[in-house]
Amino acid sequence: MNRNILEVRGLTKSFGALLASDNVELQVREGETHAIIGPNGAGKTTLIGQLAGELRPDRGEVRFAGEDITALSASERARKGLARSFQITSIYADFSALENVMLAVQAHAGHSFRFWRAAREERALRSAAQGVLEEVGLGARADTPGATLAHGEQRALEIAMALAGRPRLMLLDEPVAGMGAEETQRMIALLATLKGGKTIILVEHDMDVVFSLADRISVLVYGRIIASGTPAEIRANPEVRRAYLGEEVAA
């Protein structure tokens, strides 16, 4: 249970003159919750994009469970068990919460070149999706259209859609973005229940979330990982303090 499920080596990407990812090295162990933090403009979005398969790196490789997935598209990676949630909520606004999750389940439940039977009536899809909604606390909101959900509920739906495919690795991009204090606590509680069973890579700004959930933390500054280790190690790391944490590292 201690092998690396994700290995990133020498990942480099430039946008014209801007070097967004500078030889990124990252190892994520199976089953751990690994946070990636860094100041704004550090290149977190670019990194996530390259891990998820939306961006092609200029150089370097990404290995998932030992397999080189650098050339795989986002949908291929998802089918291999790499799920993600988006920083800016990206759900199906016109579908209900249940339909949202059913689609995510459907992607991992056989092929979808089926033209006759109504997907809505597939009991297996429904119950699996309902189960996931219960897990994230949206069980009662199954039939609510995505657009009508409250912001916090939509963020929970994002998590649900990542969970639905029973992924091996979840890539969560700022799950508490735009949430108030109470909602954030709820999300932390939810993510805590997922820990241990799943490998989670958590990109976050909110230090509460990071320090209460992360087993290990990597710090990204100007496109480079400058430190990687346990929360205690990171707190104590002088380079990190200088580059990023500053006064915020209270106890």
């Binding site: 939306e54 986002a74 949908s75 998802a78 799920a83 689609l103 979808s112 070149f113 089926r114 859609m161």
Partner: protein, 312 residues
């Protein structure tokens, strides 16, 4: 309005359509039989476009091409003495599917404005191809040698029988379409339209699904083309004129995208409007043009949205 009510309203509409031949005969107005039959053929074509445009969000500006392919399949076979309807219509559907496969395979690799322009360009290519083949009348087109023959089944020369055949096909297309858009396949298509990034993130690559939808839509429109050429008794490249494509798009939009009945309403609205306006003035496009512009600017929910009070 619940889906049950929608189904009832649709059923009433179809029953009214079924009543047209006897009513037209009663008032000795065969013109209306002809008119409604023509509208239904275009409704079938619009319904096929609805799959990829209304539900799939693919702005294909070249859909009229398949009316041409289907029509020419029938017309060309008839020209060479093959009148068997089954053979003709099978070729119409098959050839349209093949053309759609080729055009779709190239076009669907692009998106946005490129996609619109490319689908338009390919249609025009087929149009020019049609014009340049002198054997089939060039840009004048040619008369249909004989209507498709379905020995022992239906005689297309019988106006009423032909009418009911078209109606039956329309009902079948709507029904199959309804099942299709709610199937697993349909959900992926709709999801890809609603949020493409999300669709990829959960594990679907939209391209193969969209291509399949494109082919299905092309095939059904090819069938509409076979019906159309039998209706007009004349074969012309104008079937594929890009303004035809624009009309089909308007039928889908005016009718209300993403609803099964929408294209039928749209076809009736647009073609009846054209019929009405052309009765007033030969310059009816002068009025229709601005009306279409206004409808786009102010009336985006479409007729289905108004009648069925459905959210877009």
């Amino acid at each position: 309005m619940s889906s049950r009510k929608r189904a009832i309203v649709l059923a009433i509409g179809l029953l009214l359509l079924a009543a047209v031949p006897p009513v037209a005969a009663l008032f000795n107005q065969p013109f209306y039989l002809d008119l409604f039959r023509r509208i239904m053929v275009f409704a079938i074509a619009a319904a096929s476009l609805n799959l990829i445009l209304g539900y799939g969000g693919m702005i294909s500006f070249g859909h009229a091409a398949y009316l041409g392919v289907g029509g020419y399949a029938v017309g060309v076979l008839a020209h060479y003495g093959v009148y068997n309807g089954v053979l003709q219509w099978a070729l119409a559907i098959g050839a349209s599917a093949l053309v759609a496969l080729v055009i779709g395979a190239v076009s669907l690799r692009t998106s946005g404005v490129y996609f619109i322009m490319i689908t338009l360009a390919f249609t025009q290519m087929l149009y020019y191809l049609g014009i340049s083949i002198e054997e089939f009348g060039g840009d004048d087109g040619m008369r249909l040698a004989s209507k498709s023959r379905f020995v022992g089944f239906v005689d297309l020369n019988d106006a009423n029988a032909f009418y009911y055949l078209v109606l039956a096909i329309l009902v079948l297309v709507l029904f199959l379409g309804h099942r299709l858009v709610n199937s697993r396949f349909g959900m992926v298509i709709r999801a890809a339209r609603s949020n493409e990034a999300r669709t990829r993130a959960i594990g679907f690559s939209p391209y193969p699904y969209r291509l399949a939808a494109f082919v299905i839509a092309g095939a059904v429109c090819g069938l509409a083309g076979a019906l159309l050429v039998n209706h007009t008794d004349y074969l012309t490249p104008e079937f594929m004129n890009w303004t035809r494509s624009g009309e089909l798009m308007f039928m889908v939009i005016l009718g209300g995208m993403g609803s099964v009945a929408g294209p039928v309403l749209g076809a009736f609205a647009l073609l009846l409007l054209e019929d009405l306006l052309s009765g007033w003035t030969q310059h009816w496009q002068l009025v229709l043009g601005p009306l279409l512009v206004l409808s786009v600017l102010f009336f985006r929910r479409g007729l289905a949205g108004v009648i069925f009070r459905k959210n877009e």
